[in-house]
């Protein structure tokens, strides 16, 4: 990073700090009732207290666990199903339109059905998260497979490669940017659905924590939870970008 960019960064942080100071001012002057709006000092104290007593660690771990399992299951199933559908023209004409029809369905609407089938359990949460997170990945995989340069398939045919070899050696690598973009989208979906399921089913996690804090009007704890959720969203998306960068390095080099 050069000097000018660094200076801009510092200035930008200063502006953010200014907003936090403004927030503190509003809270200290009690312009908004402290029942709804704790100052950053109280939110920070709640964060420190939560972490030192271990409460927040276990809630954070719970949310991350729901998110990770659901997302991983969705990634594996989404890429596998997407590969099966995407690698066959017949499957694409018969199945893909139904998937396109289902895509705009708000996935959270599946929650009541999942509750009716599985009850208010961990399994229900994992099912819902995986079901919601699978769409972007599966559709991206189908799209990526359909968009593979046709000449590569011709090469595969003249080399008499098997269908599996075509998938693993040609289609998956060339569809990987699409697939990774889909996985990044799903990460956000997985976080949101984790929170919703925790709220509904009372599962151990940050969603449940913020709801309980709100019910008890402990606004500092509530803000601490929301800040942690924001951090979770930020860190996971940064980690995903880094992984994307790493995994697609060969492509950038080729260009």
């Amino acid at each position: 990073m050069n000097r000018a960019a660094l200076l801009w960064r510092v200035a930008s942080f200063a502006v953010a700090a200014g907003f936090v100071a403004l927030w503190q001012l509003i809270a200290s002057l009690k312009l908004v009732s402290p029942v709804f709006l704790p100052g950053p000092d109280r939110a920070w104290a709640a964060l420190v207290r939560g972490f030192s007593s271990g409460d927040l660690w276990s809630k954070l771990a719970g949310t991350l666990e729901h998110m990770a399992y659901g997302w991983l299951a969705a990634s594996i199933a989404g890429i596998a199903i997407g590969a099966i559908i995407g690698s066959s023209r017949r499957m694409r004409t018969y199945v893909a339109p139904s998937l396109e029809f289902l895509r705009p369905l708000p996935v959270s609407a599946i929650i009541p059905v999942a509750i009716a089938m599985l009850g208010l359990t961990q399994a229900m949460a994992l099912f819902v998260i995986a079901f919601g997170a699978i769409w972007p990945i599966m559709l991206a995989t189908i799209h990526g497979f359909a968009a593979v340069e046709p000449r590569l398939y011709e090469v595969a045919r003249s080399l008499q490669m098997s269908r599996l070899a075509v998938i693993f050696k040609i289609a998956l690598p060339s569809a990987s940017p699409d697939i990774l973009a889909g996985m990044r989208l799903s990460l956000t979906v997985a976080l949101i659905l984790s929170v919703v399921c925790e709220i509904l089913a009372g599962l151990d996690g940050l969603g449940h924590w913020v709801l309980l804090s709100a019910r008890a009007f402990r606004s500092a704890d509530l803000f601490a939870g929301v800040i942690l959720l924001g951090l979770t969203g930020y860190v996971t998306s940064v980690a995903m970008s880094l992984a994307e960068h790493r995994l697609l390095a060969w492509q950038a080099a080729r260009r």
Partner: protein
């Protein structure tokens, strides 16, 4: 084309018929599943007593109100950040700190500040709708042909007119793409808030049907929510093609 759309219908029809036959053959007794014929009957029933229409109105009202507020805020900031590089760089950390907060995490805050009802739902929907519009309209303003901006400068247009006469028309196709994205998000967030906590609209309706152990009604709601999501999407895609044609496609990749 026609053969293909016929082929597209094969799978859903086969699934529906198989499910109906299976449910009839086994005399299905379940809290979570119902044969398609009963789902259709429940849907008609819900239309007949207007309950589903009231719920639809409530959900769409919250979603569109939130969409309108969120789009306006996102557009204002997006255009400001697109025009002024300085402002954009100064606000970068603040925006990146707020944006990753999952919209649904604001639910408890909105709940204690505003209570149940339309207002808290609208606030959450608006928050979720701000970001796609902000980011895409910023990109759209940045990619405006520089010569248009030179013309504006040469004509000495005051900044309000520059925004109104040059920037918004030039960026409109891509802004509409952002609006389309946000509209989908608005519906999703509205339904999610209703399912999670807010006792109104389609989300509350489907939860109530589940708790009343009426799988036919629950699945009827699910189908109806799907139809609304699909119709909204089709409507906006058609509007986009009508209004902007190919001009909007340049924004789809962004």
């Amino acid at each position: 084309m026609r053969a293909n759309s016929a082929k597209a219908l094969v799978l859903p029809l086969a699934v529906l018929v198989a499910f109906e036959v299976w449910a009839r053959a086994t005399h299905l007794q379940s809290d979570s599943l119902a044969p398609p014929s009963e789902i259709v009957m429940a849907l008609f029933g819900a239309f007949a007593d207007l309950s589903i229409l009231t719920a639809t109105r409530d959900t769409l009202f919250s979603a569109f109100a939130g969409l309108a507020i969120g789009t306006t805020i996102g557009l204002a900031f997006g255009i400001a950040f697109g025009i002024s590089d300085t402002l954009d760089r100064l606000m970068e950390v603040t925006v990146e700190a707020i944006r990753p907060i999952p919209s649904i995490a604001l639910l408890p805050i909105a709940l204690i500040a505003l209570g149940f009802g339309y207002r808290m739902e609208i606030v959450i929907v608006a928050f979720a709708c701000v970001w796609p519009v902000l980011i895409l309209s910023r990109a759209a303003v940045r990619s405006i042909e520089p010569r248009l901006m030179e013309v504006a400068r040469a004509l000495r247009l005051p900044s309000a007119q520059r925004v109104w006469k040059i920037i918004i028309p030039a960026a409109l196709p891509r802004i509409f793409v952002a609006f389309r994205l946000s509209a989908g998000i608005a519906l999703i967030v509205a339904v999610t808030v209703e399912i999670a906590i807010n006792p109104l609209g389609l989300g509350a309706g489907i939860m109530l049907a589940q708790q009343a152990l009426r799988p036919d009604l629950m699945l009827a709601y699910l189908v109806w929510i799907g139809v609304i999501g699909y119709a909204l999407n089709v409507l906006l895609v058609v509007a986009q093609n009508r209004l902007f044609g190919r001009a909007a496609l340049s924004g789809d990749g962004a």
